[in-house]
């Protein structure tokens, strides 16, 4: 169960992308998101895809891990594809079923939308694959620092985020543990008929929530016992330093956005 969940795990291959400043990566990802939202035609999609592939290869992480990262979202992709196919009525009619018809325009925009989604998810995986959660947080705190001017504490926000992220695998582990304990006493989820399975999963909710709360309490105690006070001045273990490479990294995304934009208006 846990090994299927790739999200939120970093894979260290020591490539240069790993070494890019997390703030640069975050900025890059936001720009990428913008680019992907703007993409609306096949050539633009092709360019975005080539750009993504180039970066994915640069991380030296096997491409199949990116594919795996996008896999949990296939239902959503199919859904987006279907909605486009059903609603867009442009181009030639391809196929007719009663009062509804499939048009080439619908098919094409459905495919583009689904590929955009896949690209977005697998590409943002670069961020989590190449950045350890600690660095990611530091980067986030750096990016959000200006918020202090409007009275929002970036530290508080990132602490919340990091705990939430940290808890996803913990809760999955906890679920896994309970499933194991129940299997050991004769209630193996894998061997149940579908109806029973559903019931079993629902009955899991209570112990999993309870144990999540228990973990949260333990976490609070353990942080407090080590003297963590929110908002207190803290020094950083790794100091982030912005280098030329990071500027180039962000610039490459600016160029991508510009190129994709130009396709919109040409």
């Amino acid at each position: 169960m846990r090994n299927k969940l790739l999200f939120g795990r970093s894979i260290d291959t020591g490539s240069w992308v790993h070494g890019v400043d997390p703030r640069a990566k975050l900025t890059g990802m936001v720009l990428y998101l913008v680019a992907i939202v703007i993409v609306g035609s096949w050539p633009a999609l092709g360019i975005a895809a080539a750009f993504s592939l180039a970066y994915m290869t640069a991380t030296r992480i096997p491409l199949k891990y990116f594919a795996k990262a996008a896999k949990p979202l296939w239902v959503l992709m199919v859904f987006i594809f279907a909605v486009q196919c059903i609603t867009v009525k442009q181009g030639e009619e391809l196929w007719r079923l009663g009062s509804w018809a499939l048009y080439t325009g619908g098919l094409s925009s459905g495919l583009i939308a689904a590929s955009r989604m896949a690209l977005l998810v697998s590409f943002t995986a670069i961020l989590t694959f190449t950045t350890t959660p600690g660095l990611l947080n530091q980067g986030l705190a750096g990016v959000l620092a200006p918020l202090r001017r409007i009275g929002i504490s970036a530290q508080r926000l990132t602490l919340m985020m990091s705990i939430a992220l940290r808890f996803i695998p913990t809760i999955l582990d906890e679920t896994h543990k309970i499933l194991k304990a129940q299997a050991a006493r004769g209630a193996d989820l894998k061997e149940m008929p579908w109806k029973e399975k559903g019931k079993m999963l629902v009955s899991l909710l209570v112990p999993v929530t309870v144990s999540a709360f228990r973990r949260a309490e333990e976490l609070v105690l353990s942080m407090e016992s080590r003297g963590y006070v929110i908002g207190a001045p803290r020094s950083e273990y790794h100091l982030l330093s912005w280098r030329l490479r990071d500027t180039c990294f962000v610039l490459s995304y600016v160029v991508l956005v510009a190129v994709v934009l130009s396709f919109r208006w040409i």
Partner: protein, 297 residues
């Protein structure tokens, strides 16, 4: 033969970047009705080994045979429900074992799953609780609000309530007080002798299981480095201590010293203070018993 491992290997997160090999080519055989103990340093694969006994983990290589069930990396998985009924597994941490909101529900979970009526399951629950030395006042309590040792006992009881033929326990005596530890070892031995159960215990404190165990297994780095009787363990303890960092109890070391000094290596080892004292007395009185070479005195 209750349990047979043929060249069993296991890796966590097989087929991913985080693949972590935990067992390598482990072959072993355990007779029905034995009291076996597994020792080895931290991370040597003891818990992983134990979780193969009831099919919680499936080998990624080789073949496991438990009772009439065969578990293999390839091929279709047989239904494991019956195996789980006959093999009870107590996990290393009691928090891993318990999940219901009252002790009673937790204890009844197994029996109910194996088709027992509610009344009978309740009966079993309170019997199992009594076996581990807790009274019925614990039944309505929340297992997670118990002390560590009480939680441990409830976890053990939850498995005993299923009345399995093979009982595998992962460090059951950790977090128990000395008296409860001795009681538990005695209980397990009684279940083995009187009811013919096969008992397998993982332990870091070899001395507390020493009087009861008839087969010792020592693990190191995912491989089995030793399997044999207590007498063989005593003979090889020096090597195991050096090579595997095994915490050999003082009674074995002392016996080995006495044996080396008086040439008693081929005798049945005396591992309790009483037995050793008697043996020394006999030596002093000049009855070398079995071995002819007379010691100093």
């Amino acid at each position: 033969m209750a349990i047979v491992f043929e060249k069993v290997s296991f890796a966590y997160d097989e087929r991913s970047l985080w693949r972590h090999s935990a067992l390598e080519d482990v072959s072993l055989e355990l007779e029905t009705g034995v009291f076996a103990a597994v020792a080895g340093t931290t991370g040597s694969g003891k818990s992983t080994l134990l979780q193969h006994f009831n099919g919680i983990l499936k080998p990624t290589g080789g073949k496991v045979r438990v009772l009439d069930f065969i578990l293999q990396a390839e091929g279709k998985q047989p239904p494991l429900r019956e195996l789980r009924r006959r093999v009870g597994l107590v996990f290393q941490f009691p928090e891993q074992q318990l999940f219901e909101d009252t002790v009673e529900k937790d204890l009844c979970f197994g029996p109910l799953n194996f088709g027992m009526g509610l009344e009978e399951a309740r009966e079993r629950a309170s019997q199992a609780l009594a076996l581990v030395g807790l009274d019925d006042s614990f039944l309505p309590r929340n297992p997670f609000h118990l002390s560590g040792g009480q939680m441990r006992k409830v976890a053990i009881a939850s498995v005993l309530a299923m009345d399995p033929d093979i009982i595998a326990l992962d460090e059951p005596t950790a977090t128990l007080d000395p008296q409860s530890r001795a009681e538990l070892a005695g209980l397990l031995s009684r279940l083995q002798r009187e009811q013919g159960k096969t008992v397998i215990v993982v332990t870091h404190r070899m001395e507390e299981m020493l009087p009861y165990v008839d087969t010792w297994i020592v693990m190191k780095g995912g491989t089995k480095v030793f399997q044999g009787s207590p007498a063989e363990l005593v003979r090889e303890s020096g090597r195991l201590e050096r090579e595997c960092g095994l915490a050999v109890p003082a009674c074995i070391t002392t016996w080995n010293q006495v044996a080396a000094r008086f040439g008693l290596e081929h005798e049945e080892p005396c591992l309790t203070p009483e037995k050793l004292a008697e043996r020394v007395v006999r030596l002093l009185e000049g009855h070398p018993q079995g071995n002819k070479r007379e010691g100093g005195g």
